[in-house]
Amino acid sequence: MNYYLRRFLRVIVTIWAVATFTFALIRLLPGGPLVQLRAQLIRSGASPERVETLIQSYTKIQPDAPIYVQYFDYITSLVQGDLGESISTGRSVGEVVGGALPWTLWIAIATTILVFALAIVWGAIMAYFEGSNFDLASSSASILAASMPFYVLAMLLIIIVGYEFGWFPTRFRIDPNLEAPVFSVAFVGSALYHSVLPIASMVLTGAGLQVLAMRGNSISVLGKDFVTVARLRGLSDRRISITYVARNAILPMYTSMLLSVGWYLGGTVIVEEIFTYRGIGYYMYEGLESRDYPLMMGIFLILTSTLVIGVFVADLTYGLVDPRIQTGDQSESF
């Protein structure tokens, strides 16, 4: 329990640190967001007092107050869930994020799971047939896939699968003409259908190195004494591969998987823009493009918090996967 409590506190501290960081980025950078925002507002013809009020409502920062007051106000607003107001969309950042976050989570989580499912299955098969032509071909394909950035594959998928063959939609979260309630079969079906290409572009490129890693792990596990002993004892190959190899080879990939969630979450900023998929990645890009600092920083904060919390949750479940972690005290205090 102590361990989980400590982990939880660390989550809180990390989010707080990131919030402080965004505050510094908005407030302290010379010629940074605050300066530019003010220039933007003055030009729009607002009176000086008005400008200050607007800045405060946009960024939750009172530019004139002493810095610690600004900081306190900023953090207080965040704690109350108030992320400020987006300039370009005219909506509150919270509202924008609320409608978009689930879609991004779906993309990022589905991608992560698929990457690792693919990596584990394929990597294990390759390890099993180590040295065969299949192994060689798969290894080469994996390396090639890994050398392709996901946005390049996204473009190729749009051209070939989307435009030339017309198999999958190349934009939007669901069919814009669909009038179906959320969670109806039609809605979910359309949502899945529209997410195929965005997810595929990240999965196929991301899986490359993970497949190889899994292959390496499996090979080394296959060489371990306990596997040899198991073989000698006449256990079936199938049983060996499931109970022994899979388990021992997958565990080292778990951490790698947690890190990957962050990578795919970040990748959504590009993928969602390419596919006009209105998740928070898409809005973050819009915020960057239109220099909508409240939107941009708000989403940045949300992305980070999502990642931190996600890793925390995954950490909690790690204990279930790997019994060795129960104490959690991985001899870190050396």
Partner: protein, 617 residues
């Protein structure tokens, strides 16, 4: 996306166009309301009277044959999830969908050179200082209230407060009955200027019941109020917003509804041109408004995709910062103009849709020859299709510059460095800018491309004057740019994209002080005899004169100022390319050549005329 330039096709009889759209003074344009004679047969449809609208073999679609479930899908470049319809608040303001939801005061027809009445059915100067607008009969807001004179009065008053183009000439606005609005002018004013600055730029989109409360809180109106549940005045009303598509449904009680036989008009969000290219090629959408489309793409379209090219009266140009170290020097600006081969730029950036201006003056391409007339020979062309590097070197050397190690330097030895800013998302502008940069470098300037996001440029960089050479539109845009008054004013006094270019003659908001400008006498670019004029005074005079020859003189004189002093450096003029499809829609045959389609934008105007209906298949 709207601004992305388009394509040139000789759709327009330009001679006729010139005759009709003239310099200030061609009174033909004033008061061309439909109270007058019907022009060519059968095209007065859509006007207030109950004229039947069966033209061009189209079924009128009236009454019985309405396909309530049929949806016309068009495109918009603005995220439909965040769209709103308060025209005074730029954040998320609708793009093109307001053309369907609201009735424009009047559409300008480029073929005829006339305004086609819509929301306002009649306009005229009733006496020297009173201008009158009559609202079309039978118009109702979609909340059931009538569209009244006080709605329009509020709208015009708000326009005056926020500084619309007509604000300089209108003192006050009053209503006269339920359907008439009277504008009291400060003094006698050329009615064209009022007509052009009001009719094509205003829609019946400001119901007093909604906007009345903002009469005295302008900052809130301009910053906070997002009108997301718009009350329509046009033939379609808001059905459902959000998601990636905006849906509207036909309003039975709109007078034009009888011309429309389909139930829904939708706008799908397409953030990039290539998405539109693809959608049109697959006939996924039914129309598109002003999408720059390279020839290669056009060739691949199925033949049921029809192009409508209309003048844009603006296009790619370079806006120098007149307080820039080098660009503040007239000789450098002239050298830049000489060094650029405009025809080459046009050939690169879009040969179908663009045309290089013959002379570098503050007058649209199509009017130049006529406006300059016999004096045309006195004006400098700066080399339309060649790099006149010798001439450029000549003016630079005269101004004390010298070429050293392949690079031009001023007398202090500073290289002339010219970063050229361009909105990075506008593909054809980027190509144009790239080409200009190369031409300037070849001549020996130190130029480089500086691509930034359009919104960043528009919001901060340009208004603050943080540029040396910005890419900007050099004319006032259609249709106002057709009047020399507006096109000259755009270059000399107040440009519409907010470039703070610090030109001395310009308004304060553009970094100037309405100062005098001293240029050589007409006919000699570098002549000794100087003449000093005040562009801002002279243009006010132009707006108020009733004497044609005075007007002509002022236009010529100010055109000369722009030609010599180059407040902006024109490079190309584009045409807008709009797209209609005829596979499921009855549009006039050869719609690209059809007079009625010569408006901005055909996919909003034609359905109201019964000329874009579902074909029933």
């Amino acid at each position: 996306m709207v601004e992305k330039p388009a394509d040139y096709r000789e759709v327009i009889d330009r001679r006729r166009f010139m005759e009709l759209v003239g310099v200030a003074g061609t009174a033909a344009l004033a008061g061309c309301g439909n109270g007058d004679e019907p022009t060519d047969g059968g095209d007065n449809d859509g006007n207030s009277d109950e004229s039947s609208g069966t033209d061009n073999g189209n079924d009128d679609g009236a009454g019985e044959d309405v396909y309530a479930d049929v949806q016309h899908v068009s495109q918009t470049g603005l995220s439909t999830a965040d769209v709103q319809w308060n025209p005074y608040n730029p954040a998320g303001f609708a793009q093109v969908s307001h053309e369907i939801l609201f009735d424009k005061f009047a559409y300008y027809n480029y073929e005829r050179g006339e305004f086609m009445p819509l929301g306002i059915q009649n306009w005229e100067l009733v006496d020297e200082t009173t201008y009158r607008l009559d609202i079309r009969e039978g118009l109702m807001w979609s909340n059931g209230e009538d569209v009244t004179a006080s709605d329009v009065k509020l709208q015009l008053e708000l326009g005056i407060v926020i500084g619309s183009a007509y604000a300089d000439y209108v003192e006050s606005v009053e209503t006269d009955g339920n359907r008439t609005v009277l504008l009291n002018l400060t003094e006698q004013t050329n009615p064209d200027i009022l007509t052009f600055s009001i009719l094509p730029n205003e829609w019946l989109q400001v119901p007093e019941s909604v906007f009345g409360e903002y009469r005295n809180s302008l900052t809130e109106l301009q910053n906070d109020f997002a009108w997301t549940d718009a009350i329509a005045s046009g033939p379609f009303e808001l059905d459902e917003k959000g998601g990636d598509q905006l849906n509207t449904t036909r309003r039975e009680n709109h007078p034009d509804a009888r011309n429309i036989n389909f139930g829904n008009y939708a706008f799908q969000f397409m953030g990039e041109n290539q998405a539109v290219y693809q959608a049109l090629q697959n006939l996924d959408i039914d129309s598109a408004f002003t999408i720059f489309t390279p020839p290669r793409i056009v060739e691949q379209y199925p033949n049921t995709v029809e192009e409508v090219a209309t003048p844009s009266l603006w296009g790619y140009g370079l806006v120098p910062n007149h307080e820039g170290k080098h660009t503040g020097n007239r000789a450098v600006r002239q050298a830049i103009a000489f060094a650029i081969d405009r025809e080459q730029v046009v050939q690169n950036a879009g040969p179908r849709s663009k045309e290089a201006p013959d002379w570098l003056v503050g007058i649209g391409n199509s009017s130049q020859e006529r406006v300059l007339g016999d004096s045309a020979g006195d004006f400098e062309t700066y080399g339309k299709s060649e790099q006149l590097t010798d001439r450029a070197a000549e003016v630079l050397e005269e101004a004390g510059y010298s070429k050293d190690g392949g690079t031009w330097k001023d007398d202090n030895g500073n290289a002339v460095s010219l970063p050229v800013q361009v909105p990075s998302g506008w593909s054809d502008w980027v190509t144009a800018a790239e080409t200009c940069v190369d031409h300037l470098n070849r001549f020996g300037f130190d130029a480089e491309l500086d691509g930034r996001s359009f919104s960043n440029l528009l919001d901060t960089v340009w208004p603050q004057g943080n540029f040396t050479l910005a890419s900007g539109g050099w004319n006032a845009g259609a249709p106002t740019g057709a009047l020399s008054y507006f096109s000259l004013r755009h270059q000399l006094i107040e440009n519409f994209r907010g470039h703070s270019y610090n030109y001395p003659a310009a308004n304060e908001s553009r970094g100037g002080s309405n100062a005098d400008v001293s240029v050589p006498e007409m006919g000699d670019l570098t002549g000794e005899n100087a003449m000093t004029v005040n562009p801002s005074d002279r243009l006010s005079e132009l707006a108020r004169t009733t004497d044609e020859s005075t007007a002509g003189d002022i236009v010529l004189e100010q055109a000369w100022v722009t030609n010599v002093d180059l407040p902006m450096i024109p490079v190309a003029e584009k045409q807008e390319q709009s797209w209609l499809t005829s596979d499921e829609w009855d549009v006039p045959e050869n719609v690209g050549e059809t007079e009625q389609a010569q408006v901005h934008w055909p996919n909003a105007w034609l359905p109201r005329q019964g000329m874009m209906n579902y074909s029933g298949d």
